[in-house]
């Protein structure tokens, strides 16, 4: 049983934290807010999705920089698989957010800065995948998509950093709405929220690791 071995201890931590997140997230006491009520529990699932996605895209960009600096195909593989996993988390974030919006704001999709930002993020990374698909040569594909990845990620961060601060949003913390971390997020919720964020990020890392290993094996089988 390698679950406690020095190499894999973090996977055990991830599993335990995830089980804790689901059980405690659904059972522990939450503050009763108007409109939100029990749906506030979605905080443990919706918000960490975006944190995980941004984390995976960030690491992917770092591997793209590595690829440009030394031209190794291994870092290209890591970059693409991290983006693939990040896109899955982004889609999950949109779905959880959409369900939450339906029951609190009354619509599946609203014209909100953060929603538009997430849609743009998805478009950019889907374009990244299309770009990769349209290039045949491996070295060339690695380089060009690395350039696009870096360019897109930096612009995205600037965009996400600037725009929501200038416009109103239905999300907490924007346009006069109080942020969760002011007084809504009480100690009970923090007790679940922080482990939830850590465990989802670790899960994203785990999934991308598996994907990277799978693609490595596939390449070996082909050659």
């Amino acid at each position: 049983m390698g679950i406690f071995s020095s190499k894999n201890w973090w996977k055990t931590v991830t599993a335990i934290l995830l089980i804790y997140t689901v059980i405690a997230g659904l059972l522990i006491d939450v503050p009763r807010q108007v409109i939100l009520y029990e749906s506030i529990r979605n905080l443990y699932f919706h918000v960490p999705m975006w944190f995980t996605m941004i984390f995976l895209f960030l690491v992917s960009m770092i591997y793209s920089i590595k690829n440009l600096s030394n031209g190794s195909m291994e870092s290209d593989r890591k970059a693409i698989e991290l983006v693939n996993t990040g896109v899955i988390f982004g889609i999950l974030g949109i779905i959880t957010g959409s369900i939450w919006a339906k029951f609190t704001w009354g619509a599946w999709w609203t014209n909100d800065v953060k929603l538009n930002g997430s849609a743009i993020t998805m478009l950019i990374y889907l374009a990244y995948l299309v770009l990769r698909g349209s290039l045949e040569d491996e070295q060339k594909r690695a380089r060009i998509s690395a350039v696009y990845n870096i360019f897109a990620f930096v612009l995205l961060i600037v965009f996400i950093g600037i725009l929501p601060r200038m416009t109103d949003s239905l999300h907490p913390g924007n346009g006069g709405n109080p942020g969760f971390n002011n007084y809504d997020l009480d100690d009970n919720m923090k007790l679940v929220f922080y482990p939830a964020v850590i465990s989802w990020i670790l899960l994203g890392w785990w999934i991308s690791n598996l994907r990277i290993r799978k693609s490595r094996i596939e390449e070996k089988l082909e050659s």
């Binding site: 374009a127 299309v130 770009l131 060009i144 696009y148 600037v158 600037i162």
Partner: protein
């Protein structure tokens, strides 16, 4: 010059042909300048004998000179291919005219701004989509050994900035004539247009450089370009909305500053990343 590529060639011949292609496409003035940059002024008369010698020499260039040469080359080649430039202007004229026929006069500020920016975005995309067309052929290999990619991207960025600026101002002029001008704060709106088209040009330059690596696939350019154009576009649209309503500097300065920040970021990224594209 198509026949050069049809005939089966070995590498020596290819280099010779490339040299001829280049020599035909550049004016003697520029030949002299390029040769000076590489070999010094003394023995530039060898230029007619030893074209092959010219190619593999390492670049020893004066940055400003190289930049100016590349910039002038862009302007001249655009001037020679006037048809494509005229096409862009005609595109702007005809779309604005269609808008005029439909609306006659737009009183609603939102509609006016939406039409203005959409026409501007599409005209800009069409204008700069092929800015690396000449570099994507085999001439690439010739330039590769000759110039510093940093100077090339700077030349392309400035050329595209000027081109798109002209298109944007032309578009504004036509809109003001045909569809009236509902914008209250005109001077600030002009500033927003200038900054917006600078941002558009910088982004589109890098995107068209990427697209030139995929055989100038124009669908791909649109797919790649529009999502990363959105930050610039949304910020400039917000700013121009406020200008249209007649807000002053103190309300719009945030947007102006963030637009300038975006432009700086885009230009910096483009000039850092382009050499890697070049090398592939």
């Amino acid at each position: 010059m198509g026949f050069f590529y049809v005939y089966p060639l070995n590498t020596q011949d290819l280099r010779k042909c490339l040299a001829i292609v280049i020599s035909l496409s550049l004016k003697p003035f520029q030949q002299k300048q390029l040769y000076w940059q590489i070999n010094g002024k003394k023995n530039w008369k060898r230029i007619n004998k030893d074209w092959i010698q010219l190619i593999p020499l390492p670049p020893k260039s004066n940055g400003l000179k190289e930049f100016t040469a590349l910039f002038l080359k862009d302007i001249k080649s655009e001037y020679r291919k006037r048809a494509s430039l005229n096409g862009i202007f005609l595109y702007v004229i005809s779309t604005v005219f269609v808008a005029y026929l439909i609306f006659n006069q737009i009183e609603d500020l939102n509609t006016w701004l939406a039409l203005f920016w959409i026409i501007l975005i599409f005209a800009s995309t069409n204008a700069s989509i092929h800015s690396f067309r000449s570099e994507s052929s085999s001439e690439f290999y010739y330039f590769y050994g000759l110039i510093n990619p940093f100077h090339l991207i700077l030349a392309k960025l400035s050329f595209n900035a000027i081109l798109l600026l002209i298109i944007a101002l032309f578009n504004y002029f036509l809109f003001s004539i045909l569809l009236e001008n509902p914008v209250e704060n005109k001077s600030l709106f002009l500033l927003v247009i200038v900054l917006g088209s600078l941002g558009l040009s910088a982004t589109l330059t890098l995107v068209s450089a990427i697209a030139s690596k995929t055989n100038n696939n124009s669908t791909l350019t649109a797919i790649l370009g529009f999502p990363i154009l959105l930050p610039t576009i949304l910020t400039s649209i917000k700013a121009s909305m406020l200008c249209g309503l007649g807000f002053g500097w103190e309300d719009i300065s945030v947007y102006i500053l963030s637009l300038s920040l975006l432009i700086v970021v885009i230009v910096a990224l483009a000039s850092v990343l382009f050499p890697y594209l070049w090398r592939s």
